[in-house]
Structure formats: structure tokens, C-alpha cells
Amino acid sequence: MGEKIMVKGTEAIGEAAIRAGCRVYFGYPITPQSELTEYMARRMPQVGGVFLQAESEVATVNMMYGASSVGARVMTSTSSPGFSLMQEGISYMACARLPGVFVDVVRGGPGLGDIQPSQGDYFQIVKGGGHGDYRLPVFSPSSLQEAVELTIHAFDVADKYRTPVVIFADGMMGQMMEPVEFPDPIDPSTLPSKDDWALTGAKGRKARYVTSFDIDPYKLEKMNLVLQETYKEIEKNEQKWEEFMTDDIEVLFVAHGTVGRIVKSAVKLARQKGIKAGLFRPISLYPFPYKRLSELAEKVDIVMTVEMSSGQMLEDVRLAVEGKAETPFYGRLAGVVPTPGEILEALMKELRR
């Protein structure tokens, strides 16, 4: 670990990817994440890596498919409309079991929307925006230090389970500056070999293929079952969350990413008023930490979800709570960021009911 340096969110994630041994980046400019694409354009040549600006997000994801299939650690970053365009390719990568890291700096939608922070793409990112029975591990950081750690972790998870992985950021995460301590860089040549599956040329072995395709439904079902087994392992091993002031809770907030950070302030405000509030912040959105949230829900009457959306993660919260507590919701839409004050007010309203 080195010293702490002030960095912008997009650049922190880019540098983390380099330190994770990523040497191939494809991307297409889109606000509010273009600085990450620009950072990689500057940085990749310095470390002997590949940077290529693709002609579209559709091309980007397919370039990732290609680079990943020959064994490269590969990454892209985009924002909501761009991520929509990538869905077809992500579905192909998921089925072909190709690792890759996607950073989605989510902005207000739907449609062209705006360029302000949002969490309105939770369903798309966490539940799958492409076709078919696949899941993607998704990590949602709430500080730049965490964004750095999760980006590096995302590459390891992607390679370990041979799956695309998403970093769910938002415009706030991308644009803010914070002091960050970077870990020492990994030498890409020391990464675990992918020679047992990658398309490295049929030298000393039979030719092989990596596809998301089998015309025989029984064989394709087998491929699907391998995916489902993988997801079971991911659900078992990869849950991450943070608990904030939950030891003596009477009410529990659930929020992720940037909102998780804002809700910490709301929790402190509530405690000043004598309300024993706490926060459960899921860090892995898939796999969602249902079990731990379910345990915490036993202790309270109210589990209040706060999102920059109309209530998408709320559905996972309700699956975890299973009616053991009231599950009210407070959200702002379209790129409006809630303040700690208005979150507290929303809670007070629920308590007065």
C-alpha cells in the first residue's frame, strides 16, 4: 500500500483496474464517465496495454468478448444508455463464460434522461438486461477507497467464476474527489493461467471453441446448468455488506452506493433525535445479502429502503424481510440526490403513522 492521494472517482477506478493487471480496455465516450475512458487512453500505453475507442457500445462489448476469449483481463466503462446497448453482448459473454469487468456510472433515465447520479438501472444491472437465464455479480461502492478495492475484487471474481461482473457506480461516485490509497500493482504475468479454456491456438491440444451456442436443447441445458451451479457458488461465497450502527436498532435503513453514504448522515441525525436508527448497506447487489438482512429485520418494526429510483432494490429488501417488518420506501428520481434531512423527515412520517 502506498500513500493517500486525491483522485477523481473515474480515475480511481481506472487506476485500480491497471493495478489489478487489466491491460485491455475498450470504451465509447458517454457522460458522466468519459474521464475514465480518457484516463485509460493515457494510462494503457504507459503500461504496455491496449486502449481502443470503439465505434459504439455494441462494438465495445463484442471487442471485450473477443479479448476475453483469448485470455485477456478486459474492462469497459459506460453510463446507462451505453450499458443498454451492451446487453446483447453481455448475455453472450455470460453464456460463453467469458470474464470481463463493466463499470456502469448510472445516470438519470429513462431514455436519454440526464447526466445526474441515479440508481434507476438497478433492475437492468442486477436482474439482467439481456436475454436468457444468467446473473451477473454486481458491486456497489459508496466511497472511492471502496471503489478501488471492489474494482480489483471484480477482476478476481470475474476470472474465478468466468463471468462478467459489474461495478454499479453513479455520477456522484464518478465525479467526486477523495483521498485514496492504492494497493501495489499486480504483474499481469503472475495472474492465474486461462490456458485450460481460452482460445490460445490449438497447439499440442485439440481445437476448442468458446461459444454461447448449442443447437441441441439438451446440450444447451447442460451449459445452462453449469451457469446455475456457478451462481450457487457465487451466492454462497460472494455476499458483501456493511452494517452501520445496527447494534441497538429500532429502525433500519437499507441503501446502497452513494445513497448508503448519505443515509449514514440521516442515521446520525435520527440518533440526535433519540431514534435508534441503523443502516444495512448491501455492497454485493447480486448476490444480495438476503440472509443477514432477514436476521436484522427480526429486531425492528420498520425497514426503510432509500434509493435514487422509484423502488427497485426495494423488491429485494421485501424478499429478505418477508413481512417481518413494515417496508416503507423513500426515493428521488431522474438524477435528484436525496438529502439526509429529507430522508429523516420521511422516516419521521413513517414513525408518526
Binding site: V24, M63, V70, G71, Y92, G201, A202, I215
Partner: protein, 262 residues
């Protein structure tokens, strides 16, 4: 003597780079001929151990199974983006895309033009049979004017469906292209010419000159509603008029001379 005789009668054999799996193509279709040419060249260049073949969505979706080289299937139209990703990550490998007209010239036009324009060091074999084969004979971007397909049942008109698209002519306008030639394989004498064209497109990649593409005018007897012989004739009489054969870009021959490659 007997030994010599035996050796001398082996004029043709299965190329090592074909897997031996029986082709699933219809009688009179040209995919098989083109597959064989590609496999022979992979053998001749001794590239089998470093080749990745990117198959498309279309009739040749199984192409990767017919070759004994590493392979994948790209999403419809995206073969050249996939190939770009492979070649950029592993410049030491030899990357071929095999694509039909719907794949390369309709849904994948953007990927085609930009990969070509960047001069990606990959080789593309473009099969143009003026129709969507696998989905059952719908109109392709290269369907001829007046030609009836299941989605142009009254014949293609410029007013309604627009004109057939000419990929080689577009390639000529892109500086990244090192080799572009349009060939056919409908007569025996065409085949060595087609092989030479594809060889040049291999050299475009191998000698680091730029993007190499060969368009092969091909038949689709099944969807054209013709028998194989009739389809060859129809290709000769109609396709070659709309899509003139010939070399459209050649920056390779000069580099071959410079480097003393024959």
C-alpha cells in the same frame, strides 16, 4: 515403384485444418468450397496452431465445428468487433472472420466499416449470396433489384427496398484496407483465383499491411428455388453483372515484393 505411384496419386486430401465433420450445407452451396480453400491456406501457411476462426450467425454458424482450429461464434453482425478484441489482445495470433451478407453488410455494417477503416490486422471472408439463407430466404442487403425473396415477394425495387449494397466498392474508400477482392467459385477455373485472393488477404494480416477482405459471390440454390446447376448459371449471368469481379484494393503485392515473398 508402388510407393511412388501411391504418393503420386494423392492429388487432393482433406486439409489438416478441417475437422472432418461432414458439412451441413445444401447441395450446390459454395460454403464448402470456400471452407476448403481457407483450410488449405491455413495448412500451407502452417497457421493451424495460432488461428482463431470467428463464425457468424447465419448458415455458417457451425463453421467453427468444420475447422480444426480454435473458434467462436460472434453475435449477429459483430464478428469484426470480436476479431478486433482478439487481435488487439493477442497480436501474435491469426484471426479470420467468416461472414455472410446479412451479417457483414446489414446488421454489422458499422463494425465492418470501422474495423476495415482502422486497418485491423484480421482477415475477412465475405460470402455474398444475395439472400438470408439460414432464416429461410429473406431479402439481404445485397439482394438484386427485381429479385423475389420472402420479404420482397414482389421483387426488390429501389423505391421500396433501396439498392443492393456494394461492399468492395466501399472498401476502396477506406484507407485501412490492405486487400479487397471480389471473386466467385462457380466454375473450376475460378477456384485457384479465389484461393490466390484469399492468400493475399492472409498476407495483409501476416505482413502487417492492414485489413484483408475477400468477397465470394455464392449461390443459395435452396432459397433461390433453383437446382445447383441452374444456380451456378444464375450467379454467372446476374450476380457478376451487379457485383463486378476484380481486385479493388491491393497494397499487399508491393509489400510481398519488397519482402521477397512469393
Amino acid at each position: 515403384m508402388g510407393q511412388e505411384l501411391q504418393e503420386s496419386i494423392v492429388l487432393a486430401k482433406m486439409p489438416k485444418s478441417l475437422s472432418g465433420k461432414e458439412f451441413t450445407y445444401c447441395p450446390g452451396c459454395h460454403h464448402g468450397i470456400v471452407h476448403r480453400i481457407i483450410a488449405e491456406l491455413i495448412d500451407e501457411f502452417q497457421l493451424r496452431e495460432k488461428t482463431v476462426l470467428v463464425a457468424p450467425v447465419g448458415c455458417s454458424v457451425f463453421a467453427y465445428e468444420f475447422f480444426d482450429v480454435d473458434g467462436t461464434v460472434a453475435a449477429h453482425g459483430r464478428a469484426l468487433a470480436v476479431a478486433t478484441g482478439m487481435k488487439r489482445a493477442r497480436p501474435d495470433m491469426f484471426i479470420i472472420t467468416y461472414q455472410g451478407d446479412g451479417d457483414l453488410a446489414a446488421i454489422g455494417t458499422a463494425e465492418t466499416i470501422h474495423a476495415a477503416n482502422r486497418g485491423e490486422r484480421v482477415t475477412t471472408i465475405f460470402i455474398n449470396n444475395a439472400v438470408y439463407g439460414m432464416t429461410g430466404g429473406q431479402m439481404a442487403p445485397t439482394t438484386l433489384l427485381g429479385m423475389k425473396t420472402t420479404t420482397s415477394p414482389y421483387g426488390r425495387t429501389p423505391e421500396r427496398e433501396g439498392y443492393p449494397i456494394h461492399i468492395m466498392e466501399i472498401m476502396k474508400a477506406l484507407p485501412g484496407v490492405a486487400y479487397a477482392e471480389r471473386v466467385k467459385v462457380s466454375k473450376p477455373q475460378d477456384i485457384p483465383k479465389a484461393k490466390m485472393a484469399i492468400k493475399k488477404a492472409f498476407y495483409a494480416q501476416l505482413l502487417d499491411v492492414g485489413f484483408g477482405i475477400v468477397e465470394v459471390l455464392s449461390t443459395c440454390p435452396t432459397n433461390w428455388g433453383m437446382d445447383p446447376v441452374e444456380a451456378q448459371r444464375w450467379l454467372e449471368e446476374n450476380m457478376t453483372k451487379e457485383f463486378p469481379l476484380g481486385v479493388y484494393v491491393d497494397k499487399v503485392t508491393e509489400v510481398m515484393k519488397e519482402k521477397g515473398v512469393k
